[in-house]
């Protein structure tokens, strides 16, 4: 595990907003019946939060869970804890019809930060960003590839894509953040 490197190894670009590849992040796909007591309990134990409501993401102390679809959650934990969390979830859900898979290495994560961070994403994602609520997880696309995003801080968005297209996503974010192309 000490050999693990993220797709772009923390590459960063400072335009009218700052774009950064956020490094390794533990991510787990959980598919199952989100209303089941066993699933709720397992999620609470692994992520430290309740099963999120539709289109919501709940984060707490570096862990959390996001709603991906009616039968799918994204569990976030520190990268080093992902494997153990997968094992724990799998054990807790034994006998339950559910699928737990480590997807930490299948993804890339980015942060876009700055007072105009939303203007970077406005150019790539067909999302009504001014209406994006705190704690809302939006599955969308960034230019030509699938992406998910949420507002992770004041003036900061987090974007998740597939790992293989990390340099494409970074390039699109970088291009959109170039000085002179501010929207307002």
């Amino acid at each position: 595990m000490s050999n693990a490197v993220s797709a772009l190894q923390g590459k960063t670009y400072a335009g009218f907003a700052t774009v950064t590849e956020a490094g390794l992040q533990g991510m787990i796909t959980l598919r199952g019946d989100l209303s089941s007591a066993k699933v709720k309990k397992a999620v609470k134990a692994a992520a430290g939060v309740d099963v999120p409501a539709q289109r919501r993401i709940v984060l707490k102390d570096g862990k959390g869970a996001g709603w991906m679809s009616p039968d799918e959650l994204l569990i976030l934990v520190p990268y080093a804890e992902a494997r153990a969390a997968v094992d724990a979830l799998s054990a807790a859900l034994a006998g339950e019809h559910a699928l737990v898979a480590d997807v930490s290495d299948a993804r890339a994560m980015f942060r876009v930060k700055g007072a105009r961070a939303d203007q970077v994403l406005m150019k790539l994602c067909p999302v009504d960003l001014p209406s994006l609520a705190e704690g809302e997880l939006r599955r969308t696309r960034a230019a030509q590839v699938a992406a998910a995003l949420w507002k992770s801080d004041r003036d900061e968005f987090t974007i998740v894509s597939f790992r293989s297209v990390a340099s494409y996503v970074f390039g699109a974010l970088e291009t959109s953040a170039r000085p002179g192309s501010e929207i307002s």
Partner: protein
Amino acid sequence: MSTRLHRGGRLIDRAKPLSFTFNGRRMKGYQGDTLASALLGADQMLLGRSFKYHRPRGLVASGAEEPNALVGLGEGARFEPNQRTTTTELFDGATMASQNHWPSLEFDVGAINNSFGRFLPGGFYYKTFMFPRFAWKHLFEPVIRRSAGLGKVPKDRDADRYEYAYAFADLVVVGGGIAGIAAALEAGKAGKRVLLIEQTAHWGGRAPVDGVEIDGKPADEWVNKTVEILGKMENVTLRLRTMASGLYDHGYLLAYERIADHAPGDGRPRHRLWRIRAGHVVTATGAIERPLSFAGNDIPGVMLAGAVRDYVVNWAVSPGDRTVIVTNNDDAYRTALALVEAGLIVPAVIDARAHVKGALPEAARARGIRVLEGRGIAKVKGGKRVTGVSICAQAGEGAELEFIDCDAVAMSGGWSPVVHLWSHCGGKLVWDEARAMFRPDAARPPTGEDGKAMVTAVGSANGALTADEVLADVAAQIGGKAARTDAAAESALEPVWVMPQGAGPALRMKMWLDPQNDVKVSDVQLAAREGYHSVEHTKRYTTLGMATDQGKLSNINGLAILSDSLSQAIPQTGTTTFRPPYTPISMGAIAGEARGEIFQPLRKSPMDEWHAANGAYFEPVGLWRRPYCYQRPGEGVHEAVNREIGNARSKVGMLDASTLGKLVVKGPDAGKFLDMLYTGVMSTLPVGKCRYGLMCTENGFLSDDGVVVRLSEDTWLCHTTSGGADRIHGWMEDWLQCEWWDWKVYTANLTEEYAQIAVAGPNARKVLEKLGGMDVSAAGLPAMEWREGVLGGCRARIYRISFSGELSYEIAVPASEGLALWKALSAAGEEFGVMPYGTEAMHIMRAEKGFIMIGDETDGTVIPQDLNLNWAISKKKADYLGKRAQERSHMASPERWKLVGLETLDGSVLPDGVYAVAEGVNANGQRNVQGRVTSTYFSPTLGKGIAMGLVRHGPERMGEVLDFPGDGGKVHKARIVDQVFYDKEGAKQNV
């Protein structure tokens, strides 16, 4: 002469002179000019040549409707043809070149078409298609091709950048004239999220030019004050230089922002394409003035009356010292008054109406302007410039009553509302007899998903013409109380489609409807005589309203002439279809950010960086790039491939197989599910083992293949082809969600979670053993089994599977550790002669072993039985996807072509895809065929060409020689052989 006036010009800043060139000549303008006003101010009236007759062309209009004043703008990487000078702002250093002439604008050889105009009537192009047949190909096409097209194609890569932006609004107001501003204000006050866009660089539209007062203040002041209020509203966004280009279903509105056209190279994107979701759209897009059809109305110096007023008031440019006004309505008198106000001469207003009263004509008379009632222009005199007009009775046939010297003519045939956006998405129009205009029919609007109106047209776009009417219309439809104006009441216009009404053929041949495409009144009349009754057909036959301006000036006049020729009412003829974009938008804006590195997503494996640094020659595989081979200095691609194969066969090679699809399937019904998906049985596969499987479509055709792995009692991992991963995942979910929704199965696409490396060759085991951590011995990890553990410090799952025919391990590790493992294997393998190999070596090695490849041996028409893969098809299973189809008579026929190996008699390589011919010819007279090549390579292992192909009765015809005609008459002779060329008994991989 057109010239710059010494006073006035509400949009120009005389303190900021700008210089530019036209056809290499240096000229001067001011900040705030459009290219058109700057050219006119510099006395450049002649701006181009028309499309067909190459007639001299000058400015007609002052906005988006301009048909003539198109130029090639910029140079080199910033050159763009057909730029409309009326809608592009002047910038310092602008370089313009006129279009469509040779050798020069002043003297043009193509103008000879003009003299032979009667041989090029409407429908000329179509007639050339028809008769005589040979003439099109040999005579007309070469000539027309050379003369067709307006402007030059840019040759350099575009220096600018472009982007998209997405926006959402409750209400988008299109048009920043007084109607749009008033509508935005009302909606803003109501708390709606409002986006107000205006295509020009200025708010206010026509009202300030027309000199009306609103709420007791000049329109300019009212506009500035209201825009300031709007600017302070948090829920209102204002965007200038943004043109609504098209409206689509569900309130999807495309808008085109020209960010930096007026400041090229300042680092900003040039254009931005807005993709807007609008809850509702208000079109306050104004109206466009119509020309009048009189002989010589295309001569430079004949302009729209409103445009003449714009040039004088906005930019202090006079089109001439003496301007004759010709009209059928009161509005044109505003131009007469504006010209006199500016100190210019109006020799006469020629009004087609018999009796002219009204406040505006009276005001003109009071200023001493001569008003000629019931008169028309018989003919304009002039060549490259108007020199005078011949006056006649409008009711007559054109006999000259009087000749007036002048250097400009300002014409007005009434106004047509801009109904494009209203119409794009299905809004219908109604013919307003009194105003002679098509305007939006509020009873038949474009509707949204709720069946309710998606668009509201207000102001002039809705047929309101005076400022009073405009503001009252906004108040009535959007809300609020209309501001008071001092706009003069106007008396009714009189529709005039031909001037004079009894004009004979000689005059009608000189009456231009469409000056860009050279369509005249006589052409439309000819089309009607030749049987063209539909307005859409007439448009295409005559080219009326085609090309860059899409008939913004010519449409209504043309269909009025057509209606008259067909003796039917105008609404019966109808309009042509209004289609987006409203005015042309740049190709760059459509491409957006997608160019260069981010033209398309490029999928990269976790080891991509290493490959690039180590001589990889990449090939695209879906959106992935994969090393085709690794070239050493001075080495060709072919030599590299041969070296890689030789090394893997004799020592050991490594392949980056990370792109292989990896789909996990889990649940109590997962086994049952996979038994339906695959032709073989996967439910009985023991935990810890691997099995090769085939997937077919419902129609029985082979769709994908790969190794299936049983991970646990209820979990399987399905490997798919690299290109098939997403497709097969979608296929699985489709069946689970739509057909077998009650089966308890979950899937997840883990393709990208793992880096996968194939280590293949006689020394493969030694390399893994040196890395250490896992038992990879023949007994510890037998063929077609897998083990998990830590290999060389990486969390690994090793599959003992072979696609090369060698002793082979495929090692999957988390993608984040892929590069580390790759490097560790390279280092550990050094003493055993390890080398990376690419996809081509992989392809050739699998062909040497007779393994099929999806996409080579399959093409959507091939079933597994054709490939002799019956061993992988269960005969016991009651069903699987494709089973029933494969039992159909044609699928089960022994006549189907089946897979065999092929070897040329001389050891050469067969061309790919060639057919084996049989005796005789088919019904089409083509040679009969009996087989074709599906894969063909030079095998370095065997030192000769090898191939696979599908041949009728192939497996029963071993040893037969077939003829494969290739290029250049050469016939390749190849013998049918066993498809396994190398190590048939599998001794190499089972060690």
